[in-house]
Amino acid sequence: MITEPFGYHAPKSLSEAVRLVAQFGADGKVLAGGHSLIPLMKLRLASPKHLVDIGGISDLSYIREDGDEIQIGATTTHFRIESSDLLKTKCPLLPETAGEIGDAQVRNKGTMGGSLAHSDPAGDWPAAILALDAEIQAVSARGERWIPAREFFVDLLATALKGDEILTAIRLPALPSRAGDAYLKLHHPASGFAVVGAAARLVLGENGSIERAALGITGIGPKAYRAAAVESALAGKSPTTKRLEEASAHAADGVDANSDLYASAEYRSHLARVYTRRAIEKALERAQERTDGR
């Protein structure tokens, strides 16, 4: 398999990349890790005439702590996030999620920004990004803006990014005190992608009740989503087993679940409920450990 011919550009600065992307319009594509784009191009599902490789722009690859916030550069690889000591303490949901992506080879090349821009309905990052209420930075010749995660995923493989925008960074709050996170995933046995992935963040009140719950779910519908009905069923409540079970029952409410050879829509919806409950239980356990530990 071989791609259509294309012109290759390796800008050294973001401003130069932005200029090239605007110049090429629909004829151009950004190349990050290439682990979604190159296979698509080989299959001729994408045939850009120009590739703008942003891999050489050194200041797009970083993990930074800024007060209570974490900021991650778009071309930071899954592996770098998986192995970041800073993130393991400040935002453990990210390394946990990164470690579930594909395999070692994929994690060494694939980038967080590329995954979000590609927005595969079975991708892992969208679930975590939603649960963490992250914001996504988009830069174009027209300026920069921050897009809330909830507005970012629009439809199957479609995001709020405009054609001339480059995704440059992701920023999110560090793990607050009395909080716990978890990402649980059922791997597709052949592809490794998520049949379902549930990312949970729970913040506990002083009395041990659930102050706030956030649930991001991927793999079920055309795009990842926040399970709002689960969240509202938990907010302000004490975390009894029965309540977690009842809240999780709403994990696929209102979602048009996908069906394929591996999992019917009904089974997928069931998986969403089961993985949601498990993710909440794990996040709760971790939140309680952290609360007791201090």
């Binding site: 011919p5 012109g7 290759y8 110049q23 629909a26 290439g34 850009p48 395999d103 991708g123 052949a190």
Partner: protein, 224 residues
Amino acid sequence: MKDKRGTSRKGGGNRNALSRRDFLRAGATVSGGLLAGESRAISAPAAPETQVLGPDEVPVTLRINGTENNVHMEPRVTLLDALRNHLDITGAKRVCDRGTCGACTVMIDGNPTYSCSVLAIEAQGHEITTIESLSDGTRFDPVIHAFVANDAQQCGFCTPGFVMACRAFLNKHPHPTLDQVKKGLSGNLCRCGTYHGVEHAVLEAAGMGHAGVMAPPGAPDRKS
């Protein structure tokens, strides 16, 4: 034919492939012109600061196993095809050609990577290590010894990629558990089903300590 193969792409896999494909076609603008035209012509002029390379052949310099190689190729040539077709370095194998099976695994800056899914032109300036570096023809890396001793190959087609993945894994995890081995090597597939042998080979090679090249059992060691 390519299109048919395309529909079975290992991807999200939770919509039937036709609808994904239809979507891609319909949603081309959303995703930034996925299906741009067929013409070879490069319409826009090159930016003054960034040189446009291609689509015709351009000079590419690849540093492989410590040696610089200068070749001419189109930007669309993958690192795997550059190795095999342009440089006659044929240890890395092409099987799925789309980042699924691991047969093409090489190390880039020490990290195992699917060379079929990286452009050669992107790999410039990086240290590329292939299976050829694990032997001088007489002496072999401990992983290779352990593969032989543990019956870790059958037809052998996945083996070079597997050995590279094992070497890279052991460099990062010198004393792994079996669970770590299984997870660490999940990027490589073997149709002959040699996984059990491979897992044991990795554990045995870990016991052999440092990652140097060593003489095969019973063979004269030329370097000592």
